[in-house]
Symmetry: C2
Subunit: 301 residues, 2 copies
Amino acid sequence: MSVLVVGTVAFDSIETPFASAERIMGGSAAYFAVTASSFAPVQVVGVIGEDFPAEYLELLSKRGIDLEGLKVEKGPSFYWRGRYHEDLNVRDTLELQLNVLSGFVPRLPDSYRDASYVFLGNIDPAMQMEVLDQLTHPRLVACDTMDYWIQESLGELKKVLKRVEILVINDSEAKLLSGDHNVVRAARSILKMGPKSLLIKRGEYGVLQFSDSSLFATPAYPLEEVFDPTGAGDSFAGGFMGYLARAGDHGDRSLRRAIVYGSVAASFTVEDFGLRRTATLTLGDIEERYQRFLQLTDFHS
Amino acid sequence: MSVLVVGTVAFDSIETPFASAERIMGGSAAYFAVTASSFAPVQVVGVIGEDFPAEYLELLSKRGIDLEGLKVEKGPSFYWRGRYHEDLNVRDTLELQLNVLSGFVPRLPDSYRDASYVFLGNIDPAMQMEVLDQLTHPRLVACDTMDYWIQESLGELKKVLKRVEILVINDSEAKLLSGDHNVVRAARSILKMGPKSLLIKRGEYGVLQFSDSSLFATPAYPLEEVFDPTGAGDSFAGGFMGYLARAGDHGDRSLRRAIVYGSVAASFTVEDFGLRRTATLTLGDIEERYQRFLQLTDFHS
């Protein structure tokens, strides 16, 4: 089965302690789609400006990603510039230009409306809601958000949360959304807002998954070289949803495996700049590292 | 088999956002010993002042802990006062008095010299070395240290590292000791200093274990209520070494299980103030939570 994602497709300019890159392809939907495409066909809903290079779009198309829902508008594309500290867990946003994204109203092509697996990437909750309203019979809807929307659009975000099955956020967002420092209590109070399942991303420390009936904890794949953490969370979500769509199932056992597949997929993304590594990633690469991950976490046998 | 520990037995005064306590029993050897005593007999090497209450010593004795190696000196006991922030991962040391610990030279009772499982708790590396020199045929020696010794006694510490099999430190200490921000590279360079195995404690995020041939990662047991993180690292080490001494084996499979048993044991310690919960802990309590931990980390089956 295929996965539909709504989110940003953008220019990123990135500085890390090791290197920098200007106006490479970024955005939540781009990272999600390229990673998910290792597992399943992907449909993208979003907007780019006329300045967006054909070669970037070709990279997406070559991965079999359906771009019918990616609108081209007059004006410049969404742009983000950020700088990472020596400690790569810390970054500053230096510049952010919404450009064509401001005022964007997502319209789903007819062929997207019956999508089964849907990911509402990090974007204005009002846009997430627009997409939700156009779906005819989604099987599984997951969503992401960020501190900005929690602070500026909490009302709209809470409406979205009532209609999604899975929320995927990081630990600082979980603390902000719940107002609680303790991650377990934070999760309990977020589950009351609507989602049946909550995934809390902790970067290099792994992922926690909470539902009313189960709790799952996994470390991240330890990496010797992290070049660029940009997009790790979206790659994680892409691997997670891609695995579920491929499996055609989201029972507890599949969810746990999907979380590990997502972590493993994201571990490749951060090993090179931007989408460079992810763009050539195969399911075989991911399977191989998944097997290593099984070994490195095993104390059960 | 029994476990020998050298470290501090002390007074702690602790403030957390929830409560505070004055002059309760603390110190690396105390937390280690009380936790390890759920698994195996424990022998303690250390020093206290004449002001140390009989009821604290009785608590240790009642757990079957051998105090023959705990010297009583004239003067006040080692004293630490600390305050935790709202975010319990951050704490300030407000007061530190070495008192009887300053100039202490550990002397092992004859009955301790043939100890098999030995833990050199967080204490001056010169004192750790004194203990090492008095052991006749240790089977497994592990040690801990802290930022202060890495900065002030690096030469002595490095001599100790050449003679121990396992080093147990936290992630900021690993970064300090190696000079590397990346935990995997930090581990590789610390292994070159001598220890065959390195355990990196990451607090609420779990533990990583590195050796030349293997890598193991585990999350921590997620807790809804953390009252007092004091002693969590020493409790972890106590559970870890206690399990190994009980198993009488430290192959890779036993090491992995010991790490999880240590994590589970430490999860009880932080649920109440000081040693309150740990003092009544049974192997049955630990086994029960170990089984839950197996479930909450399982994606292998």
